[in-house]
Symmetry: C2
Subunit: 463 residues, 2 copies
Amino acid sequence: MGGTEKNETAPALKTELAALFGDRLSSSPAVREQHGHDESAHESAAPDLVVFAQSTDEVAAAVRVCAAHKVPVIAFGAGSALEGHVNAVRGGVCIDLTQMNAVLAVRADDMDVSVQAGVTRRQLEEYLRDTGLHFPVDPGADATLGGMAATGASGTTTLRYGAMRENVMAMTVVMADGSVVKTGGRARKSSAGYDLTRLMIGSEGTLGIITELTLRLYGRPETVASGICAFDTIEHMVEAVTMATQCEIPLARMELMDDVAIFAVNMYAGLENEVAPTLFLEFAGTPTSVADDIERFSDIASEFGGKGFEAKTSLEERNKLWRARHEALYAGKALNPGKKGLITDVCVPVSQLSDVIAQTRKDIEETGLITAFVGHVGDGNFHTTLWVEPGDEAALKTAQGVIERMVYRALDAGGTCTGEHGIGMGKMKYLAKEHASALAPMRAIKKALDPDNIMNPGKVLAV
Amino acid sequence: MGGTEKNETAPALKTELAALFGDRLSSSPAVREQHGHDESAHESAAPDLVVFAQSTDEVAAAVRVCAAHKVPVIAFGAGSALEGHVNAVRGGVCIDLTQMNAVLAVRADDMDVSVQAGVTRRQLEEYLRDTGLHFPVDPGADATLGGMAATGASGTTTLRYGAMRENVMAMTVVMADGSVVKTGGRARKSSAGYDLTRLMIGSEGTLGIITELTLRLYGRPETVASGICAFDTIEHMVEAVTMATQCEIPLARMELMDDVAIFAVNMYAGLENEVAPTLFLEFAGTPTSVADDIERFSDIASEFGGKGFEAKTSLEERNKLWRARHEALYAGKALNPGKKGLITDVCVPVSQLSDVIAQTRKDIEETGLITAFVGHVGDGNFHTTLWVEPGDEAALKTAQGVIERMVYRALDAGGTCTGEHGIGMGKMKYLAKEHASALAPMRAIKKALDPDNIMNPGKVLAV
């Protein structure tokens, strides 16, 4: 059966793909190795062949060839995933979509944009610069929009604008048989049939390959103000965040860094932030509404022991302020030279956040590891990175144990094993635990849409 | 094959259901007739039996019996759908969920609520009255929340808060084999596995029966202000709406009534609104932000020829003002005594809205029918009702022709055959046109999850 174990690609397959792609087919070790991993510590697994597609038709043609040979197909964008999403664990053909990087149409009146899947987040931001519009979903890395849709990406602005799930209106998808399907549409809402758009979002290339997307755009806010606020405990911070949310203060961003994270970035970037659990905030709107929101938030923060709060509106000051948050991962790397980082995330109901972080921190301290916590506190989503010496199997096992207990703690608290990193090859076991009753319908859908299991096999569901 | 044509239920089926439901099983003609239709003009089709379930386990038991006999199962809530969603076109067993009307838990800190599927929108609103929280999705009718999820309902506040799709966090669903599946969770976001929650939303009971739901809640705004603004043309109104949207004015509601609709409600309810295309608005936030938003909107409205705009904040004045919008359907009924109304909706990109309405209006005028247009203008979604004398087959055919041309016009404009009413038995042909390329995967999913086609057969997909 294709896809059930590591495939050796048949010479005929290569010949057929070469006829379609010419010198955009590669079997060079360097190209294959580059396409065999994402940014995670999961073991690299190179595909047998890489093709660089330039159109939906080419993707469809490549998938048809792979389907005929029952050989795995893996879509590849920026390679910035974090759970081994693109690693070719059963070999096969990698379809690189980065040459499909055209912005197809911006419709300012309807506030939407159509792009090819290989357009990156920053490329789109640049393209929209003069339109007064923006696309807000920001997963940190400069991922491709196709990859962001396939992994259900979110980020610091999800609090206000939602994740990819809320912002993809329509898609072109190449299915496992090479057929081309259009999902959704350009109407702001529809109740016409099954929601294939959202079924594809977060399916991580296991149900089809997204080749084009239509996305919602938003007006750029007139005024943006940022501020940071230290608290004595994460518990008090979460109480302030809960109150601000209940009061419907329309924050654009609300990010947590714990004291260890603040200490690390102070060291790394020569900053002088107070070493305490710190909330990073962004307000956006008109000058009047932003001033109003800041005043309301300041009242709430001081009620819960916030240690003073001052908002900055100039771009320069805001960039300086956010630098601490943006440098968190690099600071961690710098403090752990030569080590590999096991990056993970969970998401819990906000009321459970401070307990789950406190217990996880205690657990980590008991292992002798050191780590920092950063997170999207308004969503209850947090990240941590565990640094391990390459080759130190004992430390790796310890770190994996910490992650496992963190996931189970999140599940016990009514949360999810991943808020935004996805399942990939790294969290299949936890998906099976979290959604035990839903595995059967998930498998039935996978089997119905990809009967030979050629679409990114060995991910999401261990079919 | 079960479900492929009208079934006569076997005596054994009735005996088995009677053992489970006792006197909560009914085969009386009146009960069956009451469960054979929604609020649309589609031909009534009574189920053979009706059971009144009180728990997920009872729903699962009933479905297992039906599955064993390969007999259709139709879930029934308030019966307020508009495309024949519940009509038992192939007979079978109707599962009435209205006795599953418990609010299971309100979690104020996490701003979510869990309910049984039979809880209605107004019941939940009443229940939440003292919490400072509210659930915003408002499809007009006092539908059950299970029905609202199953049909992917939306309404006047979708502009600000999204539709059911954006506000259901988790579900308990009984599948076609009687298994019970939990989808989603209470974390604000998750990228764990396939999004079964959104696959079920809008599947209209054809993939499973929703028995419990967890919903997002929102803080009640401190201040609400409403106002109406007449324009000389719908085109100018849409231009103002587009500008307000691009400027990110966070309107809570933005509703259109055309001059015919205004004339009708004036007649019906003794109102004296200017007979012109009119925009109904609602602003919500703090006193400061609402004042700011009103000022910004007023500037925009006057730029596009809005004929004066005054906002009211008292509940009494707001209710008086919104009365015109709420009475629109009743006004139509009163002006067309004894006729049946063919209610329909489409949704288009906002830039296409005034053209599509103008062409549809011209088309209707040429048929000699009279109709009014109302709609959720910020979403590009509008409704119309065509009034037909019962038994007048020619008029019925004319009205159906108007609807068909309106749908094709919407599709040509990049829109959808239904923004919020759904497919049911009424729009299957248009779904097939709108999503021609997506029909194969939709059918594959239906077949995978309901191989014997017992779940509300003859709806959504003409499988």
